[in-house]
């Protein structure tokens, strides 16, 4: 009888220790991920909302302006690289805005 109580208590203790270790691990992991991320949720939300609203048109505008077939030689290479970045950022409005500046600089230098 005594033996079974001791074994039961030990098992319970092990279970409790493992449970708290799991909670501690989860908390540490969560804090680590949250520290690496942004706390500017407003900025993220704005980017998502504006991407839904505007990124499609901006993408079309930029991909036409930077289409590699419009350029020759070394300019064509730069245009190819720009086009692939534009396609990659197709659904990210803030990224497309950065690319818009680059495309405009590129076009100005090309004149």
């Amino acid at each position: 009888m005594k033996m079974s109580i001791i074994i039961g208590t030990c098992l319970l203790l092990i279970f409790i220790i493992l449970y708290f270790r799991k909670i501690k691990f989860k908390r540490r992991l969560r804090n680590k991920v949250l520290q690496d991320g942004t706390s500017d949720y407003k900025g993220v939300a704005e980017n998502i909302a504006l991407s839904i609203a505007k990124s499609r048109n901006l993408y079309k505008e930029l991909i036409i302006k930077a289409h590699p077939d419009r350029f020759l030689d070394s300019k064509k290479e730069i245009a190819t690289e720009l086009s692939s970045r534009i396609t990659k950022a197709k659904k990210n409005y803030s990224e497309l805005l950065h690319l818009k500046e680059e495309v405009e600089n590129f076009l100005n230098n090309n004149k």
């Binding site: 691990f25 989860k26 540490r28 992991l29 969560r30 680590k32 991920v33 949250l34 690496d36 991320g37 942004t38 949720y41 407003k42 993220v44 939300a45 704005e46 980017n47 998502i48 909302a49 504006l50 991407s51 839904i52 609203a53 505007k54 990124s55 659904k91 990210n92």
Partner: protein, 143 residues
């Protein structure tokens, strides 16, 4: 009117549970900011459809290391004016949300495991497992 009061009470209780279960205000903050921004952009006429964000039941099959209890593990975006809304539109909206892997990872850290996009009056919706978009493997290896 009664629906409105009911939804306000539900939102309040959800927030209390979020604060108690997570020990911080991050989940409340993220929902508040998203709802505020979506409303602002809609009011300015830039967005055609008004979206609201809430916590809802997630899919237990999409559970990951940091998932919270499945009844509170869904990050749900509801399209309020959902006339003529097709499944393709819902998938399209979801693509804008999962575009940023760091943000998805943050949602996972806050206990969410399922992204749900749904029209307010439509039966069908889209469910996306967040663990397929971003993973926590690197963080677990470097602990």
């Amino acid at each position: 009117m009664s629906n409105n009061i009911f939804s306000k009470i539900t939102t309040f209780l959800n927030r209390v549970v979020d604060v108690v279960s997570q020990g911080n205000l991050e989940r409340v903050k993220i929902l508040k900011e998203f709802n505020y921004v979506f409303k602002e952009v809609y009011m300015q006429g830039e967005l055609e459809r008004l979206c609201t964000v809430t916590t809802s039941a997630g899919n237990p099959q999409y559970k990951h290391e940091l998932s919270t209890f499945y009844l509170r593990s869904g990050f749900k975006i509801t399209v309020e004016n959902d006339s003529n809304l097709t499944k393709e539109d819902l998938i399209d909206i979801s693509k804008y949300v999962i575009e940023s892997a760091p943000f998805v990872r943050q949602l996972m850290a806050l206990g969410y495991d399922t992204l749900i996009i749904k029209g307010k009056n439509s039966i069908y919706g889209v469910q996306i497992p967040l663990k397929e978009i971003a993973n926590l493997q690197n963080y677990m290896l470097n602990r």
